[in-house]
């Protein structure tokens, strides 16, 4: 699905990613954990093509194509989806119109016919039911005045509607209440298949009870310093990051 090799990236001249190596295969779920400021969102943004980050070294292959060579919109059309840690507001554009435009742009790129308004409406109705989402959120302006939890749920609605190959969820669990966390996790699990993959960025082991990862990685100072299975998350929950960051920066590759 995606293979990241020795990825380095700068922000305003400062190196944030310092050689990331990560391979994610179809059908897998990877969790990325790590202290605040370690570079998790930076990694997500670099993969999605944010122009504020400068890639200085390394390569990323996405389904056999050179990801770093593509414009952000083409990465999305090729099947990369990022659920943002902080979704932005677009005043005056309804959530439904936005999502319809997005979906049809992606379909057009992939040689699929655009969905009729009726087909689209049926689709988002079905998806918002999975997420227990109030349909009024569809007619409201994109994320405007949405509560923190509603914004996160809206990201997952977009993921379900667009049905990408690789979904990167950047702290989608933060700001969700306990019930919402379950519902959103159900949504992600409903999305899972042997043909797609998910990278979840999170601080909390709790999410991983619902979305069970195949691999857990710890990011620290722009590097993956440890990788393991889901038990690593439990260990982190118990011990924090100190034992990892203080000792030797041994990397266990997967």
């Amino acid at each position: 699905m995606i293979e990241i090799k020795n990825l380095h990236a700068n922000v305003e001249g400062k190196e944030i990613l310092q050689g990331i190596n990560l391979k994610v295969n179809a059908g897998e779920i990877h969790a990325i954990m790590g202290p605040n400021g370690s570079g998790k969102s930076t990694l997500a943004n670099v993969l999605a093509g944010h122009e504020g980050y400068e890639v200085t070294e390394g390569s990323v292959s996405f389904n056999g194509k050179d990801l770093l060579d593509m414009a952000p919109e083409d990465r999305a059309r090729e099947g990369l989806f990022l659920a943002f840690q902080y979704p932005v507001e677009i005043p005056g554009i309804s959530n439904a119109t936005f999502l319809q435009t997005a979906l049809n742009e992606i379909r057009k790129y992939n040689g699929q016919p655009e969905l009729s308004p009726k087909e689209f409406l049926d689709l988002i109705k079905e998806k918002s039911e999975i997420l227990n989402m109030d349909s009024s959120l569809l007619s409201r302006a994109v994320n405007q005045g949405f509560s923190g939890g509603e914004k996160k749920r809206n990201e997952i609605l977009q993921m379900l509607t667009i049905n990408p190959k690789l979904a990167i969820l950047d702290e989608t669990d933060s700001g969700l209440d306990i019930d919402a966390l379950k519902i959103v996790s159900q949504g992600v699990n409903a999305f899972r298949s042997d043909d797609n993959a998910v990278i979840v960025v999170t601080h909390y082991q709790r999410l991983l009870d619902y979305i069970v990862p195949d691999f857990v990685h710890v990011l620290f100072h722009g590097k993956i310093i440890k990788s393991g299975n889901k038990d690593l998350a439990l260990e982190l929950e118990e011990k924090g990051y100190d034992w990892l960051t203080k000792g030797s920066l041994e990397t266990q590759n997967v």
Binding site: N10, V11, E12, G13, A48, G49, H50, E51, G52, E54, A71, P72, E73, R75, A76, R77, F81, L82, F84, P87, V88, E89, I90, P91, G92, I93, F98, L99, T101, A102, L103, E105, I106, Y109, A141, Q158, I162
Partner: protein, 486 residues
């Protein structure tokens, strides 16, 4: 933001500012023109050419003599070289017989021009519900659907015909809202106006279709001076659409129109404009000077006038559609989107004059500036001494694209009654990089993303436009901001 990224943003903005004007073609038909210059003889000639009655000729001459005593105003936040009024031509008409029985008789090339402009001139298209009075340079060449309208007693015709056929209405109302003494351009227009539209909606009639005029400036060095007069009698309703385009030319062209609206008791007039005149090229060469006086009078109690405008064209726009709220409980509204790009300059806004009791006005202005353009909102809210219970709400939002453009807001308040409630809100924003990235990440290309954000910004105004006009306006907005991104 890293340097490279800044450069990227600049590039997007620069690309966006390099779209070409799509309606720049010149129709090659014979035009009848008057010599260049302006004097009493030319005015008499215009009047004679139009077979006008003596009173009209006299009115023009009075306006001309007054105009000669006036100074060109320079208070707007717009800069342009002094116009040499003696170097302009004041009349140009297609050299064809002026009256047409049916569209078959109209010069096919002329029809083709309208076709290119997308004007639904043919009867089938008109069946969509738009009655069109097309002004080609100075003479109305086709007025459709007059008959359907006539059945309801609605008069919709070129103003030159109204002067001949309905002199009482014209004498009573023309100049009653915008007297020729009003301002420099209004005086000039009163002296030399070429043609325009006239509409009268009788008592109790709801006009069954949108009335529409398309303007187009074609001949070289022709100042265009339309005069529009719309009267909605008691308990009537009309929605009027004005659309404008002009061919691409190097030299600047002057457009100084006057529009007067009169709403009597319980009457309502909705006046919508989509203006995309040639803005000049990206170096600021050429383009239309749009110096227009538009005003509506809510004469009757409970009457209502709303102006909705989408201004994307012209090199210079100087325009303040206003409402004089004379009747008690009368309502004035102004919804505006003004887009400036490259070297365009717009100084536009409104005047709401509260005179009657419990009068209400709403002002929603959205200014979008890109390139090296300058966009100013200038609005006056005046509440006179006896206007008890007056209310005004104004919201002026500016959006900047890039950092070479300017946006300015000049609200003027003159409140002479303590009971007035006046609210003003203003915001300035930028199309944010994070918004663009968010849309990019959902498969939407940057250019479409910018359009989407801008459309969202303008939504409150677009929703006031009739459906097909709103679609048109969105397209225009996209065109005026489009470029080859990437």
């Amino acid at each position: 933001m890293p340097e490279e990224n800044k450069n990227n943003e600049m590039k997007v903005v620069e690309d966006l500012t390099q779209s070409e004007y799509k309606w720049g073609f010149v129709t090659d038909i014979e035009e009848e023109e008057f010599p260049i210059g302006l004097n009493e003889e030319i005015i008499r000639k215009i009047s004679a050419k139009k077979e006008e009655p003596e009173w009209m000729t006299e009115w023009r001459l009075k306006a001309f003599r007054y105009w000669k005593t006036m100074e060109e105003p320079h208070w707007g936040k717009v800069k342009f070289p002094k116009i040499d009024y003696q170097a302009l031509r004041y009349f140009a008409a297609p050299k064809q017989k002026p009256q047409y029985e049916s569209l078959d008789e109209v010069d096919p090339e002329l029809l083709e021009t309208f076709e290119k402009l997308g004007i639904p001139l043919e009867e089938q298209k008109v069946l969509a519900g738009v009655a069109v009075d097309a002004v080609f340079d100075s003479v109305s060449v086709a007025t459709t659907f007059q008959e359907t309208l006539a059945e309801k007693g609605i008069i919709f015709c070129p103003i030159s015909e109204a002067i001949k056929n309905y002199p009482d209405l014209v004498k009573k109302y023309m100049g009653s809202v915008v007297p020729y003494t009003d301002n420099y351009y209004a005086a000039l227009n009163s002296a030399v106006f070429s043609d325009g539209s006239f509409a009268y909606i009788p008592k109790g009639v709801r006009c069954p279709m949108e009335l529409s005029t398309y303007f187009r400036i074609n001949a070289i060095n022709t100042g265009q001076f339309e005069r529009t007069l719309i009267i909605a009698d008691d308990d009537s309703y009309v929605s009027y659409l004005e659309g404008c385009t002009a061919p691409m030319r190097d030299e600047n062209q002057l457009h100084a129109a006057v529009v007067e609206l009169i709403a009597l008791e319980n009457a309502e007039i909705k006046y919508s404009t989509v203006q995309n005149w040639y803005p000049g090229d990206k170096d600021g060469k050429g383009g239309i000077y749009n110096l227009v006086t538009k005003r509506g009078a809510c004469r009757g109690n409970n009457s209502k006038i709303s102006w909705t405008q989408v201004e994307t064209g012209s090199a210079v726009t100087w325009k303040y559609p206003g409402c004089i709220l004379q009747g008690d409980n009368s309502v004035g509204e102004f919804y505006s989107v003004a887009v400036t790009n490259n070297h365009q300059q717009a100084d536009t806004g409104t005047k709401m004059i509260h005179i009657g009791k419990n009068t209400k006005s709403t002002i929603i202005s959205k200014g979008i500036s890109a390139g090296k353009s300058d966009n100013s909102y200038r609005g006056l809210v005046k509440v006179t001494k006896n206007a008890t219970g007056a209310r005004n709400f104004s919201q002026c939002d500016s959006m900047l694209m890039g950092n070479q453009c300017g946006a300015h807001t000049f609200p003027y308040l003159e409140i002479d009654n303590d009971t007035a409630i006046v609210e003003h809100e203003a915001t300035t924003s930028k199309v944010s990089e994070d918004q663009i990235f968010y849309l990019n990440q959902r498969g939407i290309a940057t250019e479409d993303a910018v359009n989407m954000i801008v459309n969202g910004f303008c939504k409150e105004v677009f929703k006031e436009l009739p459906m097909e006009f709103a679609v048109e306006a969105q397209k225009l907005l996209a065109i005026s901001l489009e470029g080859s991104v990437g």
